[in-house]
């Protein structure tokens, strides 16, 4: 089955990625000198199996490697040799996998199951609820007024999506689900934009809302591919990418750091120390958002590649879900 789509394993580009002759932008691998696309990266069902203990969205590669190695060794995947596992972890590190936000939205096309997404959403809702309780009245009001209802809508949509493959006319349902999720994405995008335009800034709040947005949008593309609406999937992926550039391109570490400063006047020296500490935090956030944006920007190219090869969306998803040897595979031109 694997032969029908030009998959290969990612470590063949390891040397080039290390020496800089190959660069990764989102899910693209490009020749550093000529700019030529060498391959599209695509996560598999195996990647999600490895990431069953989801890493935080903006976790550092170091913490990711340590956590994952420990998880792998203790996970009981006894049929795979330890050195193979180490090789995979090194490969993931090389691609800065954890920075891609892949545990949230997927590298390439999302292969997350809807039950898994719902589990993640429930965790997010609890976090948002906890956070709103600690924050200003505005956030509490917002949560009471809108968020609970919105999350309820999204749960229902994802729960229903599990039935779709069993329906007599699933294509229509996939398209309908995408449309409904588009409305939820629109709400989340507006809330994120509002928060980013406010004077004060809360990184945790941004993280939670952005993660939910990523899940919704990744699933929208997934739905369109399942429905084999390839052109629509490509178009939607472009629109989503533009949304991310509009939301996140203007964010920089110095601007965020400034907005994370606590209220009230402090000593000059202390303010500088706080500002510099904020800059470090902001740098991680900005790097995470940029990865998310780059991944979104490279997704239309992946779908274009599938179209050019005559690969149907549903076949593609079935194959990458079935892949149980490699967490990431490459589609080569």
């Amino acid at each position: 089955m694997l032969d029908s789509i030009p998959f290969s394993i990612p470590l063949q580009f390891a040397e080039g990625l290390t020496d800089g002759s190959i660069i990764r932008i989102g899910s693209l691998l490009k020749d550093g000198a000529s700019g030529q696309i060498l391959a599209h990266l695509q996560e598999t069902g195996f990647a999600q199996q490895l990431l069953s203990n989801a890493v935080p969205m903006f976790a550092s590669p170091q913490s990711f490697a340590i956590t994952q190695t420990a998880n792998l060794v203790s996970s009981g995947l006894s049929n795979i040799q330890l050195h193979q596992l180490k090789g995979m972890v090194e490969g993931l590190q090389l691609l800065q996998y954890s920075n891609i936000g892949v545990a949230v939205a997927g590298l390439g096309v999302s292969v997350l199951g809807f039950m898994v997404i719902n589990k993640k959403l429930k965790e997010l809702e609890v976090s948002i609820s906890d956070l709103s309780g600690k924050m200003s009245r505005y956030f509490q009001d917002l949560y009471e007024r809108e968020m609970r209802q919105r999350f309820s809508n999204i749960y229902v949509l994802f729960e229903r999506s599990d039935q779709i493959p069993h329906l007599q006319y699933p294509v229509r349902e996939w398209i309908g689900l995408e449309e409904k999720l588009a409305f939820e994405s629109g709400f989340l995008r507006t809330e994120i934009g509002h928060h980013l335009s406010e004077g004060r800034f809360n990184p945790e709040w941004l993280n939670l809302l952005t993660t939910t947005l990523l899940l919704c949008n990744a699933t929208r593309i997934h739905c369109l591919l399942q429905g084999n609406e390839m052109a629509a999937a490509q178009h939607a992926s472009k629109v989503i990418a533009n949304t991310y550039t509009e939301l996140f391109d203007g964010i920089s570490q110095s601007r965020l750091a400034n907005r994370m400063m606590p209220e009230g006047v402090r000593e000059v020296g202390q303010e500088l120390i706080t500002y510099q500490a904020n800059q470090k935090k902001a740098k991680t956030i900005v790097a995470g958002l940029r990865e998310v944006t780059d991944s979104a920007l490279s997704k239309p190219l992946l779908i274009e590649h599938l179209i050019s090869k005559g690969i149907s969306g549903s076949d593609f998803i079935a194959q990458i879900r079935a892949q149980n040897q490699y967490p990431i595979v490459l589609l080569t031109p």
């Binding site: 660069i23 700019g35 920089s252 110095s254 000059v268 920007l297």
Partner: protein, 233 residues
Amino acid sequence: MECAQHLTTRRNLFIWRDRWLEKVETDLSSELSALKLNLDDQIEGIGITAVIFNDNFIKKKLHPILAEWLAMQLSSLMRSATKELLEVCDEVVEVQSIDSQLKNLNTPQKLLDIATAGLSTAAVFAAIPAAVGASTATVSVGGFLGLLGVTTTVVSMPAVVVGSAVIATAGIFARHRIKKVKTNTQWRLKENMAAQLQEKVLFNREGTSLNQILQGVIESTTSKLLKELGHVG
């Protein structure tokens, strides 16, 4: 393919932005130490007249050193940042030349125009005094040379009062007391100057420090270029 090329340019612009946001702060912090030493040396050599009337000392001795330092930092940082940015833009020219799509040939010039507008030394020089001037509007000496104005006010007035009192009651201990006043004034001047420099050069709440202004220029230049790139794509 066109979109993939823009992704590379985007990436390079962000790399440039991140590198210079950090470099501006690191370089200014590093160079600030040398400036402090230089100003401390000047304060060490302060005469007794300057102890009493240290407004004049700050204006004539310290301000010119600071002004020269600021101009040098601005010029050096912006020249290097602009040079690197043009290299990023040059890459666009090369890639598009290879692509040989006539419709894209206007793009490099557009990018260069924006880069030049955002980062030319002249533009930055024009922007900085205005911003710094705004930050010094509330202090005793206005304008670009008033950067240490707060220090002047805070430090000089007690010194004048104490100094005058010492002179008025000059007796057998006068010389000793004046020396003590001088030492105290020097200490206060150094302490206050160090705090003021940090606030004016590295960070303040209003965002008007040299570091923050330069970071703002780098950020807005990147934003303009990214928007331009988005329109092209």
